[in-house]
Symmetry: none
DNA sequence: GCAAATTAATGATTTATTCAAG
DNA sequence: CTTGAATAAATCATTAATTTGC
């Protein structure tokens, strides 16, 4: 169901980004933009408007959400990684017998 | 990342706080503690020791570092804020007047 | 194939922190 | 000590994916 965002149809209660819009936003994010300043938001919004109706606050929200959720994802990945590591470690790592002689 | 600090494994040269330890420390920080006195440090260290090996100096360093880093963070936010004000092009949206949405 | 029902994503709001200015 | 300003965390709400029964 490839919705074109509400670019043309324009009857939705919330902004629904186009694939092109998402692509551009993700590229900016990859380039290091995380909390764009007001003028950056204006500029980005202007570029995204070529693909459909959009407001500055949508860009603002997108970066907020994307940053937060990327962080959540990374956190989960780190937890899973360490859990795996710990489980394996229990097989490899035998505590040295503390050779207290006899 | 469920590292147990070096609570049990004790194979690291530097203190690595447990999640529980961090939680307790951050709660103390939220309660207003910034530069704990020697007595406070001793008390806190005693409570943290329940989760693993720790010394008073670790607590001391933690508060110093945490305070400094929170300041750095706020400073960066402050700079972003000034940039925003200077350009003043913002007005993405009106601050939501505490409208209740349930 | 197709909708109704259900689940997953994600846009939008609200809440709780922070430092520091007044 | 109180308040201003800006989030980031937590939550709410709506949309898209998908599953399911026919």
């Amino acid at each position: 169901m490839e919705n074109e965002g509400n670019a043309g149809t324009a009857s939705s209660s919330r902004w629904n980004p186009t694939k092109d819009q998402i692509t551009l936003l993700e590229n900016l994010y990859k380039q290091g933009i995380r909390t764009p300043s007001a003028d950056q938001i204006q500029h980005i919004t202007g570029r995204l408007r070529a693909y459909g109706h959009i407001e500055g606050k949508n860009v603002f929200y997108w970066f907020q959400n994307h940053k937060a959720r990327q962080r959540q994802k990374q956190k989960q990945e780190r937890i899973a990684y360490f859990n795996r590591l710990l489980h394996k470690t229990s097989r490899f790592f035998h505590p040295p017998p503390c050779s207290n002689g006899t």
